[in-house]
């Protein structure tokens, strides 16, 4: 029963195998990620050399996708710690196999997100001025304090529950000497005695409680960077809770995405059951609806009051320059994921199979044809002259949208048979939608004219896109390396789960 047991349980093999063997796929992934990061480093060196002028930023829109990425990654970081801490505190037993994956997301999202601010700085070499001359009155200082606290806290919260597993790895033969030494150092002499257990549980319990308010403070103060200014769309009293909910929402999506990926690649089906996805799916749906609620309250309040600056912003979002992104965000980030998460409970979806045109194959084919036509006309002939056989570009666009809708409908019955896939797809969409939402928060409020002038425009350059890609690649790289060095599933916690837990999981599964 103690973690130092040498006879490795056979069912734990899938968790430990990635630590011992790396296939060509792993090295290919690492090489690709390093390539992307390399391009990003080159882009950043260019930016350091020439200045932020290599970005699309300008005197009017002085914050762009770097700040979008910052808010996005800090949001994703809520995944972890907060979810795992809440589940731990409330004694949700099903959490056991997923806590470590969630906690690791937090740490790596913070490690990637916080430096995005550094990338955005005009004078990164003066970073230490923030510590030398820091003004506590500035929301940036609140962020620095809050995020560093969260970083330390979440590292500790990731590390503490890893100790027994590290001790198990220390006692497993077959690792290279440096890894042995790493595990030995990190296991801090864990023997699994009852006394040690008691201390560990105490520490984990304390961290779980401490980390919740810290996590909430982090995204609240991130929102206050915007909320404390006088700009339309930012200066809002609900921004704190709005951001916190958004963060938990995208955080859950990030966990589900990571779980889906590793379940597939590492064959962790035994640990990450459909029941886990189902339960996280419920959480995702709840947060989705909460986020929708906040979004509606925010926009309805300012558009009903109808101050000129607010109405100008709303018009740009709903019908104007940012409308395309806004509606993509609303549909892809909120509505579709909501549908996908409830699909397993909608028998009505199966009736769609009866409509011949809504069979997956013809519908998808039609959508692909129309989409490629639309893209072809857009980039080929140009929308002004675009016409194929007398059909105007607009008609093609509408047809493409209709067929895309049909394809989505046709896929629903298929997804209903695969609840895990449908929830993972929902979470992927949420990730995309929430990034767009952060862009929509940052950029339009800056583009809005403050004085008697026109709307400002902003188009991110290759430098910004490369650095953004590198940020995502770094996140995936860190996570992949973590998964190579440490077990992704908290083995000792799963082992210690009450015997009834798998039973309920099975009954739930059967019910679903």
């Amino acid at each position: 029963m103690t973690p130092t047991d040498l006879d490795v349980r056979p069912e734990e093999a899938p968790v430990l195998r990635p630590l011992q063997h790396s296939g060509p796929g792993f090295w290919l992934l690492i090489a690709t990620l390093l390539g992307v990061i390399g391009v990003g480093v080159y882009a950043y060196v260019t930016q350091l050399r020439i200045g932020l002028g290599v970005t699309g930023l300008n005197n009017r829109i002085s914050w762009g996708i770097y700040i979008t990425n910052f808010v996005f990654f800090i949001g994703v970081s809520h995944a972890g710690t907060l979810i795992s801490a809440i589940l731990r505190v409330t004694g949700a037993e099903w959490r056991r196999p997923i806590t470590r994956m969630a906690e690791a997301i937090t740490v790596f999202a913070l490690l990637v997100g916080a430096p995005m601010v550094l990338v955005d700085m005009g004078r990164p070499e003066r970073l230490f001025n923030v510590f030398l001359f820091g003004r506590l009155q500035s929301p940036i200082l609140w962020d620095v304090i809050s995020i560093t606290t969260y970083m330390m806290g979440s590292l500790l919260y990731l590390y503490l529950p890893m100790i027994p597993d590290l001790a198990q790895l220390r006692d497993t033969p077959g690792f290279s000497p440096w890894r042995h030494s790493l595990y030995r150092q990190l296991a801090v002499g864990w023997r699994g005695s009852p006394r040690q257990h008691a201390f560990l549980e105490q520490g984990i319990g304390a961290m779980a409680i401490i980390i919740i308010p810290v996590a909430i403070s982090v995204h609240t103060v991130v929102s206050w960077i915007f909320g404390m200014t006088l700009r339309a769309g930012w200066h809002s009293t609900i921004f704190g809770p709005y951001f916190v909910i958004g963060a938990i929402f995208s955080g859950i999506a990030a966990i589900i995405t990571a779980m889906g990926a590793f379940r597939r690649v590492y064959r962790l089906e035994r640990f990450l059951t459909p029941d886990h996805f189902q339960k996280l799916g419920y959480l995702l749906l709840t947060l989705n609806l909460l986020y929708l609620y906040f979004t509606v309250s925010e926009y309805l309040t300012i558009s009903y009051g109808a101050e000129i600056k607010d109405v100008t912003l709303i018009n740009a979002l709903f019908y104007g320059a940012f409308s395309r992104m806004f509606w993509v965000m609303a549909i892809v980030g909120l509505i579709l994921p909501a549908i996908l998460t409830v699909i397993p409970h909608l028998p009505v979806v199966d009736r769609l199979r009866r409509v011949p045109l809504l069979r997956p194959v013809p519908a998808t084919a039609a959508a692909l044809v129309m989409a490629s036509l639309a893209v072809g006309v857009h980039f080929g002939a140009g929308p002004q002259v675009g016409a194929i056989g007398g059909i105007s570009y607009e008609t093609i666009l509408v047809l493409a949208a209709v067929t895309a809708g049909a394809a989505v409908l046709a896929l629903l019955p298929v997804l209903r048979q695969r609840p895990v896939a449908s929830i993972v797809i929902a979470s992927l969409l949420v990730n995309v939608g929430m990034w767009l939402k952060r862009y929509i928060i940052v950029v339009p409020s800056m583009a809005l004219p403050l004085t008697r002038s026109e709307w400002a425009t902003y188009r991110p350059t290759w430098v910004e896109w490369s650095i953004t890609a590198a940020a995502f690649a770094t996140f995936i790289l860190l996570y992949t390396l973590f998964a190579k060095l440490f077990p992704l599933i908290s083995l000792w916690e799963v082992r210690e789960a009450p015997a009834s837990a798998p039973e309920t999981a099975h009954t739930q599964e059967a019910a679903a």
Partner: protein, 270 residues
């Protein structure tokens, strides 16, 4: 200085020169006690013709990089038949949103109320640009082109030349000129061009000048139905604007007591 104040009403050019010289001499130099100043600027929208010479003079004075405009002239209109121009420099707010949010105290009020930037400390986070409700701030996105003239300048927050890459720039209310007893560059050119739309002065002394005449600040503001730009935001700008269309426009040089708002038939009126 007292003599100038005593005249109260419009004073003439030599008096303006003496007043400005007195302003320059005061702050803590030559062994004198520091005199607390509260610099204000008044922009007469009725007199501004939108020539943008102030912008150019400012750019020349400060060797402004990248054609940034530290005083911007916007086209504005009460309605489509009643248009006017509105020069907007930094408003030097008493409750300045930019000063509030700066993480490193790089932007600050100097003792006389001018909002300055320490370009040796600025980290380039651009939070002040996001916070400023007047769009008064610009950023040096790349290394500014350094002219030979620049290399003779000694950097100070009052005269931020040579300019520095990756830092924020804005109107400094010509703090370097004011302390030497000169008026802001935009004001000088405006008066030289005959518009006399920009006034500058010390609110504590209640005296302002456009370089050609001297007036009481309160009187000028009253006559001109003064307002502050976006005063509802509570930033308390130190820049005042005089309404573009006013009844006193025809004889602005002849001061008269502030008339009641409702202008009904008064037999004694000319």
């Amino acid at each position: 200085m007292k003599a100038v104040a005593a005249t109260g009403a419009a004073a003439t050019l030599p008096q303006a020169a003496r007043l400005v010289a007195a302003w320059g001499a005061a702050p803590g130099r030559h062994g004198r006690a520091h005199v607390q100043r509260r610099w204000v600027m008044v922009i007469d929208l009725a007199a501004c013709d939108g020539c943008k010479k102030c912008t150019k003079a400012c750019q020349a004075e400060h060797l402004v990089p990248f054609e940034q405009e530290w005083i911007r002239v916007y086209e504005a209109a009460n309605n489509q038949y009643d248009k006017y121009s509105m020069p907007v420099p930094c408003q030097h707010c008493e409750v300045a949103p930019c000063v509030k949010v700066c993480p490193v105290n790089a932007t600050f009020h100097n003792p006389d109320g001018i909002v300055l930037i320490d370009h040796n400390r600025c980290v380039g986070c651009r939070f002040c640009m996001a916070a400023c409700p007047y769009g008064a701030r610009s950023f040096n996105w790349t290394e500014p082109k350094h002219t030979p003239a620049e290399s003779f300048a000694q950097y100070s927050p009052e005269y931020p030349v040579p300019h520095r890459k990756g830092t924020v720039e804005k109107c400094m209310l010509c703090a370097h000129r004011v302390k030497m007893g000169r008026l802001p560059a935009c004001l000088e050119i405006c008066t030289k061009e005959g518009m006399r739309a920009i006034w500058f002065g010390d609110a504590n002394e209640n005296l302002v000048t456009n370089g050609a005449e001297v007036k009481k600040l309160t009187q000028l503001l009253g006559e001109g139905r003064a307002f502050q730009y976006k005063e509802e935001l509570g930033t308390h700008p130190r820049v005042y604007y005089l309404l573009p269309s006013r009844r006193d426009l025809t004889n602005s040089s002849a001061p008269r007591p502030a008339a009641p708002a409702e202008d009904n038939s008064d037999p004694n009126r000319p």
